[in-house]
């Protein structure tokens, strides 16, 4: 029986138990109450049981109510327009992998558009339809990259809902304030208590949230309990200081340089070296400077490198790892670390007042160029130095930009990250115009979405060229996928000419034309769909 309670007026409950027992044992072994033993006993038992069953069912009463959940908090945001709500249902119904691998056909990948849909809905401040919350939470559960946007859109009711389903616990963990009692940021006493009593993940969330608003308060909070934290916790906490890093953090970080844990020391040193004015940066500048000089004795000024001969205790204290990885020379390993941690601003003084561009252009003696430039790249990324990034990136059309030069594609992508969006787009567009798409995937990944016009144009032109060259479109499926998600929807018009199946050139791969037409069709469809999505989310003003 369920918890629906049985009849109140029945004289039967005892005899029902009796009936069940008799049925289990069998009438041969136990005669049912009120009937004679013999061949009719089973039938009599079933008669009585039938009456009792119908009686029990007819006499059902509701159970007492359990404690009702407290109501979900109000969501003050305006509701989604109905077309947008329908679109959301469709995007959420498209589960990845359901259609199996293989050729992608001409229809768009709906689930790939969900991140953009969420970003647009969040930007406009709409509330999620309650009926869609379970599917949203499931989607966010499966894809961590979706979580922040999905949870923000899902809003307070989703967090209320997530408390009831263990599958959705992640929502309570990953939303600051999603737990029951993360204090507000101006509640000093509450913060202190939470910091002392919270779980590790909650404390990280608190520190991160606090750091983004009040960096000093966060640091002071951490300094207070620093000595009693476990080593791996110290590492995570220290890492959260990356946000809002400033000169004020130096004394605390200097102190962390003497930490018991090697990883904590290394992180502290890394953070300090990102502060160009810090004492550590100054020490590193002196060390690195003593290894690199301009040699004027040659015909053209050349950089001469004299890598350090030892890794002394001072260097180790400042985060230099003494032991080189297998297969690397110790001295070049040390040099790389020194140059990486030295402030880039110090090189101009050291190398004859030259600009970053002039310094990068100088020849380097004895095959040190690779090591030196790679270290400068890491320094430029760490110190977010646009001038040095620009110099190290060079001209996008330069022949070595496409090949395995001193600076790898991954490093270039990171360097591009230090530049403004427009400059980034120009550089990537220039790169694609010269070198085509085969190496461009990583670089496209750092461009702002939707792509600025030059990038979009360069990608479309390059795809057109690739098609005319007769290869198959799936050699470019990575870039195609990116283009579907990132190309500005207004570019769709420029693509119409590419939809037709072209006459196959003689040297083309068989059938490639049809596949290209299909791929372009998917691209155009996806762009139209993205435009529609934005329209649906922008209700006509009444």
């Amino acid at each position: 029986m369920s918890r629906t309670t049985t009849a109140v007026d029945a004289p039967l409950p005892d005899s029902w138990e009796e009936l069940v027992t008799t049925a289990l044992l069998g009438t041969d072994r136990r005669t049912p109450a009120g009937s004679a033993p013999g061949p009719d006993a089973p039938s009599a038992l079933l008669d009585a049981a039938a009456v009792a069953t119908v009686r029990r069912r007819a006499g059902l009463r509701p159970a007492p109510a359990a404690e009702r959940p407290r109501p979900a908090p109000e969501d003050p945001r305006p509701p989604l327009p109905s077309a947008a709500a329908r679109r959301l249902t469709m995007l959420l119904a498209d589960r990845p992998g359901a259609a199996g691998g293989g050729r992608r056909g001409a229809a768009p990948d709906l689930i790939e558009l969900l991140p953009q849909w969420l970003a647009a809905a969040n930007a406009r401040g709409f509330a999620a339809p309650p009926a869609a919350l379970p599917a949203l939470l499931d989607a966010a559960r499966g894809r961590t990259d979706l979580r922040p946007a999905a949870l923000r859109f899902a809003g307070p009711r989703a967090l209320w809902l997530a408390r009831f389903n263990p599958d959705w616990r992640f929502a309570l963990r990953s939303t600051p304030g999603g737990g029951t009692s993360v204090p507000r940021l101006h509640d000093t006493e509450g913060i202190r208590r939470f910091w002392q009593e919270g779980l590790f993940a909650e404390r990280v969330a608190l520190l991160t949230a606090l750091r983004s608003r009040k960096p000093a308060t966060a640091r002071e909070l951490l300094a207070e309990s620093w000595a009693t934290e476990r080593a791996e916790d110290r590492l995570m906490f220290l890492d959260s200081l990356r946000t809002g890093l400033g000169p004020d953090d130096e004394p605390f970080l200097e102190q962390a340089l003497a930490d018991r844990s090697r990883n904590v020391r290394a992180t502290a040193a890394e953070l300090l070296s990102a502060l160009p004015g810090s004492a550590l940066a100054e020490r590193m500048a002196v060390r690195a400077g003593s290894c690199v000089a301009v040699d004027h004795t040659r015909d053209t000024p050349t950089i001469a490198v004299e890598a350090p001969h030892e890794c002394d205790a001072g260097m180790e204290r400042d985060g230099v790892v003494a032991r080189a990885p297998a297969g690397r020379g110790e001295r070049s390993w040390w040099l790389g670390q020194l140059v990486e941690a030295a402030p880039l601003g110090s090189w101009s003084r050291r190398l004859g007042g030259r600009t970053p561009r002039e310094i990068v252009a100088l020849p380097v003696a004895d095959d040190w160029q690779g090591e030196l430039h790679a270290a400068w790249c890491r320094a430029a990324v760490r110190q977010r130095d646009a001038a040095w990034s620009r110099a190290l990136l060079g001209e996008p059309s330069a022949p070595e930009a496409g090949g395995p030069g001193a600076v790898s594609l991954a490093e270039r992508a990171k360097l591009l990250g230090t530049l403004g969006a427009a400059e980034r787009a120009e550089w990537v567009a220039g790169f694609i115009e010269t070198h085509g798409l085969s190496e461009a995937f990583q670089l496209l990944g750092v461009c702002a979405v939707p792509w600025a016009a030059p990038v979009g144009r360069a990608v479309v032109d390059a795809l057109d060229i690739a098609r005319d060259a007769g290869s198959y479109p799936w050699s470019f499926s990575g870039v195609m996928g990116l283009a579907e998600r990132c190309l500005d929807p207004s570019e769709a018009g420029r693509l119409d000419a590419l939809l037709a199946i072209p006459d196959e050139p003689e040297n083309a791969s068989p059938g490639a034309g049809g596949y290209w037409s299909e791929a372009f069709q998917r691209l155009v469809t996806t762009l139209h769909l993205r435009a529609t999505i934005l329209t649906e989310l922008t209700p006509p003003t009444p």
């Binding site: 918890r3 289990l24 089973p42 359990a66 009702r68 119904a93 768009p108």
Partner: protein
């Protein structure tokens, strides 16, 4: 049928999908990309060409205004019904962003629609004139008598088997396992009593589950015994109850009740499947008559039954009841218009009245597992491992059935309620309550939970 059909929502379209894979495949095709030459007529026909794998595009046409249900035709080789192209086309149309303009149907679509309408017309006229045909009433009566004799033999054998079972005890019978029930079920199929066979098979599935198994086993054995006895003494039962027994045993019946025309609100549609058959249940509520009706349709295993109605809107149609006292099953007759939106909601009741209604219904049909009920002002609340629907204003609640607890619809219900009272339609019975549709507090159509 001349009225322009209301656009369906994406949910309603997706509810037509025969399985999750088709749902996904259909959603992918619900964008303008692969489509060309799409259009819709004012009479509820949608058509289009879909780029597929081959050299010529597939021709897809859907008729949603047809009196005999949404029908579709596609030149693709898929054996699913509706195929992904039909679903995609309907999604595109439901999106309403101008991707499917109004227009004149092309010849290939027009031909199919005309052909189909003629066939339905023929079928209808054939249906009214043809039933008295063939061998005449005398032969039919003899056939029915012969079948009744076989069922009687089956019922006697079943009684015997149940008596043997109880003599040895249920505990001993459980050791003989599933085979015992399968064999008995096969004997009932031979006896042309499919209703008895199905109950026996369910008993077999019951053995081996749950802590209250002995109780459930005895209950179902007793009800089976009651049905067998009911059949053997059917001459002495009141006519209504006798009809119920005949239909429970599994004799065919025809919906010969008077036609009731109403605007029928579609409350719920859901499928259950076993290895042989997919059964679709559609609950309707007559917005004028206040009657609740059940439509049943069947499909071969793995295929969706052809009848499909979108949950939410109401359709103007005639229904006629099947015989049997107090049972809600009806048959769909003529439809006068495609479904249109409505803001009528069935009136709700309390949990106490809901179980009382189930109790009363048992008087007419003691084999009834549940009755359709709309609960008003109930709050879904967690209760140990399960959930219940608690009255907002009284200390009373109905537990959800174990099956309802594991469905994704539960979470939609909880999300929509947000701890506030909602109106819920569902099935209320001895196992608890199975929610099937919920209405939000504010305006809005029913949200399906199944």
């Amino acid at each position: 049928m001349t009225q322009q059909g209301v656009r369906w929502t994406a949910d309603q379209v997706l509810a037509l999908a025969p399985d999750p894979a088709s749902r996904t495949a259909g959603s992918r095709l619900g964008a303008a990309g692969p489509w060309s030459g799409t259009g819709s007529s004012g009479e509820g026909t949608v058509w289009g060409l879909c780029e597929g794998g081959g050299s010529t595009p597939y021709r897809t046409v859907v008729d949603i205004a047809d009196a005999s249900g949404p029908a579709c035709h596609c030149s693709c080789p898929s054996r699913k019904f509706p195929c992904k192209h039909a679903l995609g086309l309907l999604l595109l149309w439901s999106g309403g962003d101008g991707a499917v303009p109004r227009g004149e149907a092309p010849e290939w679509a027009e031909q199919w629609i005309a052909g189909r309408r003629t066939r339905t017309e023929e079928k209808r006229t054939a249906g009214t004139s043809g039933s008295s045909g063939s061998a005449g009433p005398e032969a039919a009566r003899r056939r029915a008598e012969r079948r009744a004799e076989r069922v009687t033999a089956g019922a006697v054998e079943l009684e015997q088997r149940l008596a043997d079972l109880l003599r040895g005890g249920l505990a001993a019978a459980e050791q003989s396992g599933y085979g015992l029930w399968e064999e008995t079920a096969a004997r009932m199929v031979d006896a042309q009593a499919p209703g008895l066979a199905a109950r026996v098979r369910e008993l077999g599935a019951l053995a081996g589950t749950g802590p209250d198994r002995p109780v459930r086993l005895l209950e179902e054995c007793a009800l089976l015994h009651l049905l067998g006895r009911g059949w053997l003494r059917r001459e002495r039962l009141p006519e209504g109850l006798a009809a119920t027994v005949r239909s429970r045993v599994g004799l065919p019946a025809s919906a010969d009740g008077p036609a009731i025309r109403d605007r029928w609100l579609v409350l719920a549609q859901y499928d259950t499947a076993d290895s042989r058959l997919t059964t679709r249940r559609i609950w309707l509520y007559g917005t004028d008559s206040g009657r609740t009706a059940l439509l049943l349709s069947y499909g071969a295993a793995g295929r969706a039954p052809e009848l499909s109605l979108p949950v939410g809107p109401a359709l103007d149609a005639e229904l006629s009841a099947y015989p049997g006292a107090g049972q809600p099953r009806m048959a769909l007759g003529e439809r006068f218009a495609p479904p249109t939106p409505t803001d009528v909601r069935p009136p709700g009741t309390t949990t106490a009245r809901a179980v009382a209604r189930y109790g009363e219904a048992l008087r007419d049909d003691p084999w009834l597992d549940s009755v359709p009920v709309t609960l008003d002002r109930v709050i879904p609340a967690p209760d140990g491992d399960g959930w219940q629907l608690a009255d907002a204003d009284e200390d009373a609640a109905l537990p959800l059935t174990p099956a309802a607890r594991s469905r994704p619809g539960l979470w939609r219900l909880v999300a929509l309620s947000g701890g506030a009272p909602v109106r819920v339609f569902g099935e209320c019975g001895h196992q608890g309550f199975t929610p099937l549709a919920v209405w939000p507090e504010g305006p809005g159509e029913a949200v399906p939970l199944c």
